[in-house]
Each structure stands twice: as structure tokens, then as C-alpha cells.
Amino acid sequence: MGPVKQRIASEDYVTINVGPSHPAMHGTLRAIAYVSGETVLGTDLEIGYLHRGVEKLGENLTYHQFIPITDRLNYCSAIANNVAYEMAVEKLMGVEVPVKAQLIRIIMTELSRIADHIVLVGILGVDLGAFTPFFYLFIQREEIYEIFEWYNGARLTNTFGRIGGVESDLPEDFETRWHELKKGLEKAIDETDKLLTHNRIWMDRTIGVTPISAEDALSWGFTGPCLRACGVKRDLRKDEPYSLYSQFDFDVPTGKHGDVFDRYMIRMIEMQESMKIIDQAFDLYKQLGPNEPLMAKVPKIIKPPEGEVYHAIESPNGELGFYIKSDGTDKPYRIKIRPPCYMIFQAFDELIQGEMISDLIACLSSLNIIAGELDR
């Protein structure tokens, strides 16, 4: 047995196995909770139930072939993964991507960020017993999927973009679609806000639950909304502005206590910020002519020069980085993915100590652990 069991000195506990096939464990996570009464003394985490060998697979596929695999990392926001990988390879090759392609990438990434946050807020609601917001939000999520599908034919696993740009232009009536979606999204977010945010029970369930201090969060390697909830204003889009993000005007929301409520609120605000970014990006996009290039000049078979690179972007969950080592052939020599929730989930044991079983569920949901990128 693990170190948790050693830590708990008294015999006065019951082990409750939560997962893998458990409603709140997203199918593949497993936490063995040591509880005394309803209080959790500690948890042993067991991951790897979705370890599919993505990194090994990457070493055996060509650079382009690996893009579809990145879809399956964080399947809630596949496009962010695609873009992160492509940008890493482009950085390795030293390719400059045309502005139009960058704008399309930004629009799509932000859309997928909204879709990801929708899943989180919906599931957090379901796990805390409020089912209805999930359905309201999922209707809008379907609309986002329709835009994706209509852009490149896939709903969930988009395989968006190519190394060096994107494969096609935004469809002509994107503007009307986006405005419709925006209206619906605003309404759904507003409804969710009304149903949850100021609900007394919701506040009781989330405020002050599993807080974490900024120092601890940094030491554990938190990134993204979970780190921002602790009050650290760190967003790669602002701090290490990649692509065209330095040109946009958007806020980075921060919380104070790093509790479940802050994590939830940050997601709610970020959805609105993302909508702002999409508006601005689309304004820029409209100023470009229809014949602007979409792809940089890259060879058909990609053979980056020998070398290694690490590049990270701000995915919906936090810093999503790709370390790629190239040996000069058409296949990467080594790909290492730095998934955001991997580092966050480590801290789960520390977060949950002394809280109650119900908080375990709330905390897990609010961290947004996606098994696909956690286990790779």
C-alpha cells in the first residue's frame, strides 16, 4: 500500500474505493479514499487506466500523422492540442505562419476553450446534484460542434490545421453563425449563472472547499484556471504571448482562495473573455483579403532539422507543452507532452485531506481532469 496508508497512524479508517467506474471519476480515474466517518484522511491515486502509449506512437508516426493523435489527448478541446503541437513543430522548423491562418487558429482555439469550460461547468453541476445547467450548456456546445463540423467535418476530434498553417479558410457565413452562437452562449451562461452562482446551496458546497495557496499551487506545478483561482495572474497568452495574442484586449480573471468556487467562476468569466477575443480576432480577419495565404511554405514531407524544442500554449486547462526532439528524419525522435492536469491531479491528495467525501467529488470535478491527456 501507498505512503498515504503509512501516514495515517490510527487504525480508525475505512477505505472507500472511488473509481474507475464511478459516476464522478470520468471513467478512468481512481482514488482510494481513506475516510474516518465522512472525513477523508487521505487518498491514494491510481492513474494510467487510459494510458494508450501516445508518446511511443508519436515516435513511430510522421509529423503530420501525429496531429490526429493529439486530438485524443484532451478530447474536450481537441483544437487547442492540435495548435499546440503544430506550433511546437513550426518553432522547431522556424516557420512563420501567415496572419490569416493564425487568426483562424485563434478563433478556433478560443471556441474550443469555451467548449471545454462548458463541459467542466456542466459536469461540476451534475456532480453536485444540479443537472439542469448541464443540459442548457450542452445545447450551446452542440452549436460550437456544428461550427467545427462545418469547418472541417469533425465534431470532436477535429485534426485542425496543418504544420505551417491551416488547410482551409473560414466559411463565408461564419459571421452570422458566430453571432447566433454568441447570443445563445450568453443566454446559457446567464442562465447557469442564475441557477448556480448565487444559489445558497451551491455557494455552501463550493466556497471554501479544498482551497490551495498560491505557493503550494506553484510548487505542485499548477497552471491555467486552477492556478489563477489561487490569485496568481499567469496566463501564457499574456505572459509569453504567442501567435497574435498580444494584439487582443482581454482580461485574465483571478480568484483569491483557490477553492472550488473560484475555479468555477474563473471558467465562467473566461468563457466571456474568449468570446471577446473571438470578436476581436474576427474583426482583424475581416480586414484581410480573401486571397491571403493560409499556409506557410513548408515541404510536403516534414523533416525538421536536428534539434529539440519545448513549446507551450495556454490550453483551456493550463500550460500544454510539447517537447519534441528531432533527429532530422521524417519522424520525431521523441515527443513528450506536458499535460496541464497531470501536474494538477498530483496535488489532489493534499487538497482533499481533512475534507469530506462530498468535497472529494466537487474538488475533482473542479480540477477538470481529462484522462486522455493525464495518462496519454
Binding site: 444559489n199 467525501i357 462530498s358
Partner: protein, 346 residues
């Protein structure tokens, strides 16, 4: 017709009626949740999916029934049976209408009008605990046991405020008999309000309805079966008809509690400002009073569904805190206010 025949007819009628309501409630719950959530809900089985509960019932009936190896075989079966029996029995003293006259014989629309009235409901309600304890313990499963313990602690905690609210009602009406309480609610109160219990006991009703939600294990108090925490709570190991009994029992409980609320606080079969018996013949009056009573119940049943799909659930300590720190003091306050008002008015 002798008394036994009438009694048997009444018993059979109300038993099947509660069963029917429980069945329809599952449909209402599903369609209602679908309505709230922008969905369609079950609509394939029969018109508007009305036969969905029937399909569920048949499926549960023909599902495999087995007791897990480590479970206690007797208790495993006894749990749902105890739960269902208490759920069905509680309705025995609650009226479902005023009275009906057939062949010059007056039949009271109530299985048994006894002088201990709602105390019987409370007493039988306190036996609901056994369904959870025996089932949860008999399953020999951690989730079940924890669910059973939670259920029991919750039921116990909320029985006290329920009893306190009833105590104030009993002070106001000076009777335990639910029929007498219903009859007392005819006419008007203070000249313009319907003479309903809610206007005499507003605080008591608040305490009662919250406690009733907790007693029925409904959101926001559905911790015993909180599916995101304890898989399915005390009925994790149950499948087939045993599970069906738990599910049915829950809905029957809902109906009993709704009927109790209507009887005590919402004027039973009375329509405000209208004296039905003067307009209608004896037979028609009986039927109309039954319908009015049922419609009032239906509102509360719908309220149960509505609340369930709107708000999240409590955490266990918050639930206990609400019960012991808020509801019981409120119930006692209500008791004293009632006593004080009676003292200064008599």
C-alpha cells in the same frame, strides 16, 4: 353492503390508486425533467411515452434477482419489503376526499378515520429507517452501508422538525384526526383568507415542507443515494424488483407527504370561498372533492419534481446543520408563537 365490504373496497381502491400515482409519477418525473431541460423525454413507449413506467416495471420484473455472495440473504430481501410496506401503509389514515353517499349510505373517503390521525403517519414514517438500515447493512457493501447510515441519520434528524411542525398544528386544531382537521378548514379565516392551515401556520409549513423534502430523500436532500458520491447509495447492490420496490416506495412516500401537506395546510378538499356541497349532489360532491384533493396533491408532486431538477444537493454536515441548527429552533419558535397566540386569543 356491510362494513367489511366497504372497507375492503376502500383498501383495494386506495392501494391501487397510490400504486398508479407512483407509476405515473415516474413518468411525470422524466417528462418533467425533460421539459425543464429542453429535452423530449421518453416518448416512444405509448402516447407521450405514457407507458414508459409500465415498460420499466416489466423490465424490472423480469430482471435477474440475486443476492451478492457477501450479502445477508434474509436482510437483503427484507430491506426493500420493509421500505415498501411502510411507504404504502402510511396512506391508511390520510383522507382522499370528503364523503360519498351511495344508496343512502355515507362512506367517508378515508381508509380509517382514527383518533390518532397523523401520529400514525409519523409513527409509520419512523419505520422507513429500517428499509435503509436493513438494506444497506444486508448488502454488505461500503457504498450501501454509508448510504444507509446517511439515510438513517437524515431521516432521524428531520423527523424532529416534522414532529414539531405537527405539534403546532395539533395545538391549533386540538385534534389528531386528519378528517377533523380537514373539516375545520372550511370557510374563511380573518374574514378574507381561505381558512387553510397555511395561513394559521406559515412558519410551521415552511418547517414542514423542508423536513418533508428531507424525509422523502429528494434533492437537495438526496444524499443517501447521491449518485456522484456513493454510486447509488443504499441500493447500490439492488437490481430487479427489489430495486423497483425502493423506487416505488420513494414515489409513494412523495404522494403521502403531498397528501399530508394538502390535508393539513391546504384545506384538503375545500375550494376557497365556495361550498361545494350546497351545489352538488351527494355522489357528485364525493367525486369532486376527491378530484380537488388530488389536484392539490398533484401540485405538490410537481413541486417535488421541479425542485429536484433545479438545485444542487447539500453536503452531509450542511444537511445536519440545517436540520439541527435551523429547522428545530424554527420549529420550537413556531411552537411558542402558536402557544402564545392561543394563550392571548382564548
Amino acid at each position: 353492503m356491510n362494513e367489511w365490504t366497504i372497507a375492503i373496497i376502500k383498501v383495494v381502491f386506495i392501494w391501487s390508486w397510490t400504486l398508479l400515482i407512483a407509476t405515473i409519477m415516474t413518468w411525470v418525473e422524466r417528462r418533467g425533467s425533460a421539459l425543464i431541460q429542453d429535452r423530449l423525454g421518453p416518448n416512444i413507449a405509448g402516447p407521450f411515452g405514457l407507458f414508459q413506467p409500465l415498460a420499466d416495471g416489466i423490465k424490472l420484473f423480469t430482471k435477474e434477482e440475486f443476492a451478492p455472495k457477501h450479502a445477508h440473504k434474509i436482510l437483503f430481501t427484507l430491506g426493500p419489503v420493509l421500505f415498501a410496506i411502510q411507504a404504502f401503509s402510511a396512506y391508511a389514515v390520510i383522507p382522499f376526499g370528503d364523503k360519498i353517499v351511495i344508496n343512502a349510505k355515507e362512506i367517508v373517503l378515508q381508509v380509517a378515520d382514527v383518533n390518532i390521525g397523523f401520529l400514525f403517519v409519523l409513527a409509520v414514517g419512523s419505520l422507513a429507517v429500517y428499509g435503509f438500515v436493513v438494506g444497506g447493512w444486508g448488502s454488505n457493501n461500503k457504498y450501501s452501508l454509508l448510504g444507509g447510515l446517511r439515510a438513517t441519520a437524515q431521516l432521524l434528524s428531520y423527523e424532529v422538525p416534522l414532529g414539531l411542525a405537527m405539534l403546532a398544528v395539533c395545538m391549533t386544531y386540538g385534534s389528531f384526526s386528519l378528517r377533523e382537521i380537514s373539516l375545520d378548514q372550511a370557510g374563511t379565516f380573518l374574514g378574507f383568507l381561505p381558512n387553510w392551515g397555511i395561513f394559521k401556520q406559515p412558519l410551521g409549513f415552511l418547517v414542514f415542507i423542508v423536513a418533508a423534502y428531507a424525509e422523502a430523500n429528494r434533492v437537495p436532500f438526496d444524499l443517501p443515494e447521491a449518485e456522484s458520491e456513493l454510486v447509488a447509495g443504499y441500493h447500490t447492490e439492488y437490481g430487479g424488483m427489489r430495486l423497483g420496490l425502493y423506487l416505488f416506495g420513494e414515489y409513494v412516500n412523495l404522494y403521502t407527504l403531498s397528501a399530508l401537506m394538502v390535508t393539513i395546510y391546504f384545506g384538503a378538499w375545500h375550494i376557497p370561498y365556495v361550498d361545494m356541497s350546497s351545489y352538488l349532489g351527494p355522489l357528485a360532491y364525493g367525486i369532486v372533492s376527491f378530484l380537488v384533493f388530488f389536484l392539490k396533491c398533484a401540485f405538490f408532486l410537481w413541486l417535488f419534481v421541479w425542485v429536484r431538477w433545479t438545485i444542487p444537493r447539500f453536503r452531509f454536515d450542511q444537511l445536519m446543520g440545517l436540520g439541527w441548527k435551523s429547522l428545530i429552533p424554527l420549529g420550537l419558535l413556531n411552537l411558542f408563537v402558536t402557544a402564545f397566540l392561543i394563550q392571548i386569543t382564548v
